[in-house]
Symmetry: D2
Subunit: 380 residues, 4 copies
């Protein structure tokens, strides 16, 4: 009796204690290692606010970027005339100015940018590292791009296949003209939930920087199902430090990769560095005698410290070993890889190299990278 | 060889197919049954946009309400002078006007409202069912409330314990004055993540309508962890139909309940109706002989068709039965309740009534409702 | 002070109240509608226990099936000599006998079965609806199958591509022999996480019943990530009632479909019935005038009452309409489909048929089914 | 056309590639830091298999422990005569012998133990670090405990309130007798989903080691809702290394804490060490001028590297600062703490100590620990 009473009395007070102060937003950690002496920065250079056709306030873009674990963002609203239903600013730099103090507070690097937006056949282009957006509000597309370039902008071709049949991009006279005038420096291989393999190929051939942009208009939590482990597409930038100059330098020098769903797109060198920096191969256990057909002889443990699952498929192995043909090194986990050395008469310590294709790390649209896992087995 | 090739070729096309059109937002179903001849409407009468200190555009409030499974919302921005950093409207009805077409499209009932906001000792009050917000922009709090009342407003006292020591509300001369002048018709028992037991008591004693408001400023998906099954607090309104007149009538006649976390707060009659309409008791299986101490003799299955888990604790039972003392009827599930009839010498069919307290359905801050589960056992 | 005290005092008691009685397991609801006058039964005819090489006790197979929302299961252990490390039974029916009372309690239909297991080139075969497993323990594979047939067994060829190069099954002299002798009645198109398109083709050509089996050895919750919405593969059986005779009749008459991840595999007729029984098309909203290029003229709402997301891709439409080319009808949700009628000069009510391919409902490995969505637009 | 074809052709192959090899189980990482020069080991010393009344095979206990992120386990089956429906072993060490090779493979430390089980008024006792279980199979409870002690066992009193009215444990003549004879060395403060505050008090007063046991009979994934972030209760052991001798030494020396839901129970010293080792306080940002009442002057970032959310409530602060009264330092995240220094006329650098109670880290049933957060503010 007394007992039940205390439950309810407690209830009178306890619940009112649980008020959460929304300003105290926690930041998720995305584990992607630094490589080659550079810091790996998680960046989204493409998003909108109520200052064009987005639905959120600029400060919110910063707060959600903080929560999403990003390091660098650019708010790239279409200039005001594209946003007649939304907030009508006479100063196109206002979204940046509103967001900047919040970015400083949370330590998010905010790049000043804009999306130069024209109908087909021109397309959409992000100009990053701008000084004054008011100066690029030109009626003509190429004039706008040149005005951005005059401010030292790094320019990307956005969602190149958008509204094209089958969403397949076409490199016709317009991109050719812009490209030849130095007005396309990077290209979005991924935009929102679309992946453009052809853009991947062009990026490699034409030395354009690999880019990915979320292009979010709504809150990121409304666009991506974080519940199911989704994240927005990101450009990984490998920069000397978090200064704007270093970030720009990395973009100009093509030191980027694209992180989309559970895929990475980038150069073979960069992807291999990311894989090797993520993975620790623990020493193989000393072999033990099997007591039946079902027992494995030995196993190694592979620790994956990154937030990316690596999907491995065996590409080459010494015939005398039987190892898992397909294995996923789950994110932030340790995976056991079973190894069955076939010839029972081998003695002593023997070294092997297992070669796996990482099916979700693409150095071209047709090709996953190949990685090597060294194994040392003690046949006692 | 050919095999691996087809994987990658396929990959060239497949992924670009997955573009999702964000306008095509699905709507979650929240199962709460209709009762007593009324429709059960899921309502949130308290939220903000960029037209005061919120961070989202009015149309987004409608879209997320649709997704969250709500039927009725009110956008209740503080009037413009509270929002100097945000959008400066000279027409205080503009948030409503922007949201209305989207609400019509999605079939969300949009109530025109405003939050009349004053510093301590006055507090915050939602005026619902307004015609023209510009007419209630008065310097004096009571004048603003009266101006709202002149438009036939239903007025609620919001988050009554906010900023009070221990978040415990105080009924002093201000609420007394407003209440005596008919300027408080409902009271928020729950606001955002705060629950006010004292407001619950007052609502019962003073015949104020039970209200709950999310009071969200950011996107709801940024405020509540849908991943862990959270939902925003809702006012359940039991209305003849979805017309604004019927909704207002239900509020005036106190036909509401509060749905907060996994709790319901409301009158005993309403909560019992909700429980009984949610739960189907399947016939008990005919008893079988036990082959050991561990086996139960019989069991009934209880189907809970609502989205609410019911936490039951036995309050009274015929001494001759042994049944689970605590059991949760999980949402949208069937639960098996084990029953052990003690006296082995009983024969024939016998009926019992199990009385359980539903620990999370409160008809007062101190009291869960009691429900009855009839059981018929065939002692063969 | 007093306040803090009550928190802790309450804590002394409250937590110890939360003991959950594990027997009271809730059952998840999987919504797949009944069709064509038959009940749709969710079945898993393939699983193992400690009575062969599985890791769980037979009663647990029943309890997890109840939780997983299944209606019918068969425990199909390899006969005892395959299980030398596990429980050594001299009676091969013992797993069934242990599980049966629990199945009766929970209302799970338990089919008596066994997996007749031989090394390549023979393979694994499930014999269902057996009377006595001890009688089928024959050294020779075909003798075992015939002994099962003598008991009226329905026999399926399990995981036909298992251990084959590329997991691609081969129809050589062994299956040909068994098939010609009536010893293969069904075939697993899906086993665990493997899908065999070639088996799908054979099933259609050779009139074998479409089957899917989880083939679980560990607890289902250890094999499938329920957290991410996974479920085990199921055979959907369309039976007159839940009697064993009706279930067997449905299998013999090929009235099944396979439910695997978010795919359905089955005959066109059955899949269309499932789609049409799942989906309710709400009346189109009366058209409204657009105030800008961005606004849609009208929209219909499509309610999907099933647990399956339907991925639709437009295959044919009246040229005068612009509708979403790709849309997902999310499970247990309502989806809004935007429609833009192009010619602005049409007046009055006009009817259209939208034809969509359901990309995840396959009537053959190459072909999603096509469905029709009728739309009536009021051009006012 | 060609396009659609390639989708389906791809589908013919892609899906059959996804076969997962269940042996390759990934291991979740639970982040709890090492303290005081000891390794922090995550241990579960209480669980069952089919060798008593559990439902899983011993090897599965090891595999799920690996997946659950545990370092050390004991399988503590009731001796065989309690398990007449399950596997009947004539050798009570068999569960250990079966599990040991799998434990060696995965690097899980397996402690040989047993649950000595008697009906009321005796209760259940875990004997850990045994050599031979067959020697402790005595009819008399105290004889069994003494036989265990003869093998050097560490003995815990399990679920002391089980089946007692209100689940409240009673220290009567039986525990008194056992305790006085050195037959109770530790006590379960938490068992499965029950918490015993009184056992917590006794542990402190009588110098018994704090223990928690899952007492699982079904698979852990069937008992705990990992989907909602649940984990099984664990005993945290602070040991010199992972040797059995060091683990035993830690238990004997009371170097443990209990990790239950999001609570830690333990000595003040240990809990403070765990908090301090988990949390990194980043330097406060240099103060900036506020442009409105809503903006904060400064903020610090607190990084919580542990898997435990810390729920902080302000207990004492310099009056001149306004800081969040309640804040949760979310697991594996960085939280921003807003600080508003009231007196605007202060100049130069000033240091403050914020004192918070950690509401979910209990050094006694009535008392959360207090922690200090130093803040340095630059009033420029």
């Amino acid at each position: 009796m007394k007992f039940k009473a205390s439950f309810f009395i407690a209830f009178l007070f306890v619940i009112s204690l649980s008020k959460i102060q929304a300003q105290d937003v926690p930041r998720n950690t995305i584990n992607i290692p630094d490589i080659q002496g550079y810091k790996t920065l998680k960046c989204d250079f493409h998003m909108h606010t109520v200052f064009s056709d987005g639905t959120v306030w600029p400060t919110f873009r910063v707060e959600e970027a903080w929560q999403d674990g990003l390091d660098v963002i650019a708010i790239t609203d279409h200039l005001g005339h594209h946003a007649k239903n939304k907030v009508d600013a006479d100063n196109f730099n206002k979204n940046y100015e509103i967001a900047k103090p919040e970015a400083d507070k949370l330590g998010i690097v905010l790049i000043k940018g804009s999306e130069i937006t024209r109908k087909y056949p021109y397309g959409h282009y992000n100009a990053l590292f701008l000084n004054d957006l008011n100066l690029i509000d030109k009626p003509n597309c190429i004039d706008a791009l040149k005005a951005a370039k005059d401010q030292g902008a790094f320019i990307t071709w956005n969602h190149p296949g958008w509204k094209m049949p089958g969403e397949i991009p076409v490199w016709d006279s317009i991109p050719e003209l812009f490209y030849n005038n130095g007005l396309i420096n990077g290209i979005e291989i991924v935009n929102y939930t679309s992946y453009y393999p052809l853009a991947f190929t062009w990026a490699t051939e034409k030395k354009l920087t690999f880019m990915a942009g979320s292009d979010i208009h709504n809150p990121s939590s409304a666009e991506f199902n974080y519940q199911k482990g989704e994240h927005r597409p990101m450009t990984l930038v490998f920069a000397k430090d978090t200064s704007i100059a270093s970030i720009k330098d990395a973009l100009v020098q093509h030191r980027t990769a694209v992180y989309y769903k559970n895929y990475l797109f980038g150069s073979e060198t960069i992807l291999k560095s990311l894989f090797n920096a993520s993975v620790i191969i623990q020493n193989p256990v000393i072999s033990i005698d099997a007591d039946s057909d079902n027992n494995y002889y030995t196993y190694i443990k592979i620790q994956n410290n990154s937030s990316i699952d690596f999907d491995l498929e065996l590409s080459e192995v010494d015939k005398s070993l039987k190892v898992s043909e397909k294995v996923t090194l789950a994110a932030n986990s340790i995976t056991v890889l079973n190894i069955k050395p076939a010839p029972k008469d081998i003695k002593g310590v023997k070294e092997y190299i297992l070669k796996y294709t990482v099916k979700n790390l693409f150095s071209s649209p047709e090709k996953g990278i190949t990685v090597e896992i060294p194994v040392k087995i003690n046949f006692s």
